[in-house]
Amino acid sequence: MGKAAADTRQDDEPASAVVAARALLSRAFEPDAARSEELERCLRALIARTETLETERALLLQQRAAFRTVIASIPFFVFWKDREGVFRGGNDLFAKLAGLDKADDVVGKTDYDMPWTKEQSDRYRKDDLGVIASGKPQLDVEETNLDAGGNDKIVLCSKVPLHAEDGSVTGVLGIFSDITARKAMERELSRSKEQAEAGNRAKSDFLATMSHELRTPLTMILSPVEALLSERRSSLAPEVIEVLERAYRNAHRLKTLTDDILDFSKQQAGRLELELEPIDIREHLTQLVLDMTSAAVARGLELRLESVDSSIGVVTLDVAKFDKILINLIGNALKFTPRGGNVRVSVASDGKLLSFCVSDDGPGIDPKDHERLFRRFEQVDGGSKRRHGGTGLGLALVKQFVELMGGRVGVRSQLGAGATFSFELPQRSAGGQAPSALRDYVRHASSGIAAGAARSAELASAPVDAPRVVVAEDNDELRHYIEQLLGRTFRVSAVPDGQAAYDAICELKPDVVVSDVMMPGMDGFELVAKLKADPELATIPVLLLTARAGVDASSDGLDRGADDYLAKPFSPLDLIARVRAAQRMRTLHAQLRESERRLQAAERLAGLGRLLAELSHELNNPINVIYNGVLPIEDYGQRLVAYAQACDAQLSGAGGELSALRQSLDYDFVVADLPLAIHTLRDAAVRIRDLQADLRSFLLGKASLNRAHANLDELVSGSLELIRRDRLSPIVVTLKLGQVPAFEFDRARLGQVLLNVLKNAAEAAGPTGHVAVETEVQGSWARVLVTDDGPGVPDAIRGQIFQPFFSTKHVRLGTGLGLSVSTEIVAQHGGRLYLDSEWREGARFVLELPMIEGGVPPRVALPAEERGPGRASEGSASSETLP
């Protein structure tokens, strides 16, 4: 009972039955049948109630035991406190944590009696009060806790309020778990994850680097093989071609794989970016399909581009990725479709989306495999059945590229019913034109053995004044390709070998030469050497196309005089850029040379001008003496001769001393010749004075012609006479005058020209030589031909002798201005002075002058033989009057 009493104290006892029983007991001794009846009823009720309680108690005890067991055995730390923070209980785990023997030892203690730190206790107390005040639980709070052993624990704690019957909060129940180990594991895990990620990044970087590294040697394999196949194909045996093509195909496949890996690793590293540019879809697709046609044909397949929606014009795309998508899809179709099959490419547009389809009639793909198709490293017919090479990255990349461009990729296929791969891209209109049909995507060059000579793209032609380029390339296809490539910008003449190139270059004098190195007959190096040896052609820049890439080949080419080189396979843009650069360089060089020449000429002219000005002044005095001195002398001469003749007549027949003097004097000749001699001198003096006047007017900046009616024959013979007299050594001259009618010309100036030309001829002929001078009329032109039998003018300088300041031994003129000034004077007359290019024995200068029409009717000229120098002098004297 004692125990029961204790229990009732604790248990919720039904009080009404007890109260009723006590009341009955107090009246128990009053014998009363009614009361005993009532007593009996009460006892029965009490007994029944007691039985119920017993039952309930047993249940409770059972529950309590279960509860205790739960509390004791759950892997959580459990405690409960009253409102004052005093522990009212806990489980063994908790007690152990607190360093106590058993759970009951917890009762009556506070946090401050526990091994944890004061700060921790303060925080716990604060949390408890929070829960008590709010009546709301605090769940899953992660906090630290120091256990009895002094170890730091990380715990995850929940605290819930304890309620009394009336709902008031009587305390706090706490449950927590030790998550220290879990935490440590989490940390360990995250560290492992980081390590794994770093490893992955390293792998990606390695892949990227490797694929980059691989591309270079691969290109080195591809280029020479391709060059062999494209340039030397005709000289290769079929079996060699087959082997080389296989090597090429596989190397190319390897390169494609490498590119895939690179793209993949880029994508892994999140480095893929769109590079949008406008392209003409129709043109681009046409080209791309054409380029892949050869691969299709090689596999016995038909590849066709069909139904390109004509409304699609220029759109903005990442061309490289777009190409990759299509090449992958078409490549797949070609790969999986058996011989005799068809592959179709089409594109449609609804204005917003571009839909591309690549269909084949190959074996098809089981729909259950469709989903796997676009995953990385999956090949549907994997395992031992694997027939086709590849990384399995292709379609995954396609998917990624399409999605990167904001599109979707899909496949429709049934086993045995072919497959259609499609993708959609948002249609971004470029709003303009594609810059050029030429992509920096060198399909022709890289597909090499290639594709359609039947390039439908019309050949855009360059303007008629475009720079000229001669292309030498023995491979027909490549030649056509280059021709087409450069034809848009340049006037291209394409020839198949070095000799033809040389001929074309000689004839056309192009601005740039593009030449293959290896050609039948004259090869590229030989062509360069030949061009560079010719001063006329040496300045034309030569761009060599060499199959041998690398520094060796370039320095080889450059050593041999090429101005630039380009390794095959080359990018079309590169070729155009280089040709353009070479052409620009040449223009610049020419301009530079020209301005340099002009500058030099100007400087020389300026210096010469100063010199001439000085000289001209200094000449004035001696010319004055000669010119004015000769006048009286003429007078004296005439008078002396008259006197001498009178004397001679008087003294006729006188012998002795006078007779001897007369004989030694050669009196008859002297008397006849003296007036002529003086006349000739005077004529020369007049001409010198005139020249001086010309020079002066030239130096003063103007030299207008002073035309007057005059006789060319007279001028020619007079000039010749002057030359003859002037020279110490005799010259043999043949003079043939063609009775040129008088016409208007500047006598003094043309005299200057004739003197120049005649002096030249006399100089060239030398003392033993011969000079022939001829005048003639040809239509309305008067011509003077001056021919000498001297050494002739070397070809090299023929073009230059008429340039100002050109001076050689052949053209031995004091100032170097002689022929240049002469040319100028003749040009002022509307005529021409030139060197007869046909004449090869010695030199023949031709002076052509137009006879002014409607002039005075030609005077009847005396026969040449009867015309002496004196008459010429007379003529000159008559036109000598000055203003």
Binding site: N620, N621, N624, V625, Y627, N628, G629, R696, L882
Partner: protein, 147 residues
């Protein structure tokens, strides 16, 4: 084509002083104009000044013909010296440097009657001398009238 005219009395020929440092020019000038003028030749500016001073009265020079570019004393310096004592005698330049700015400016400031370029033309020189003489005579006449 100078035809010897009738021999004129020496007194009737105008008296010219010709100054040039080149004897060739002097003699040529005298040779060409011997029949027309009574000429005194001087081969330097200094000599010219002495001759000018020495010739007085009826011997006085009526025209001075002067080279410009001469050593020691050039045409400009000569004119400056001459004008102090002989302000009215007309002067003509006979020079190879007619285009020089200096010649032009000197001619202006010293009232040089004419600048004749060498090589000269006989007729041209003669015409200009006659012109200078006439002008000079007219000036003398007017100044005498005033005096």
């Amino acid at each position: 084509m100078t035809t010897p005219g009738p021999v004129q009395p020496a007194r009737a020929k105008p008296r010219l002083l010709v100054i040039d440092d080149e004897p060739g020019n002097l003699f040529t000038f005298r040779r060409v104009f011997a029949s027309l003028y009574d000429m005194t030749l001087a081969s330097s500016g200094n000599e010219g000044l002495l001759r000018l001073d020495a010739a007085t009265g009826v011997q006085a020079f009526e025209v001075v013909l002067l080279d410009f570019a001469m050593p020691q004393m050039n045409g400009a310096q000569f004119l400056a010296a001459m004008r102090e004592k002989h302000p009215t005698i007309p002067c003509l330049f006979l020079t190879a440097y007619a285009e020089l700015e200096e010649v032009k400016s000197v001619s202006k400031s010293y009232r040089v009657a004419a600048v004749i370029l060498k090589p000269w033309e006989k007729d041209d020189v003669e015409r200009r001398i006659e012109h200078a003489l006439r002008l000079s005579k007219m000036k003398r006449a007017t100044s005498t009238m005033r005096g």
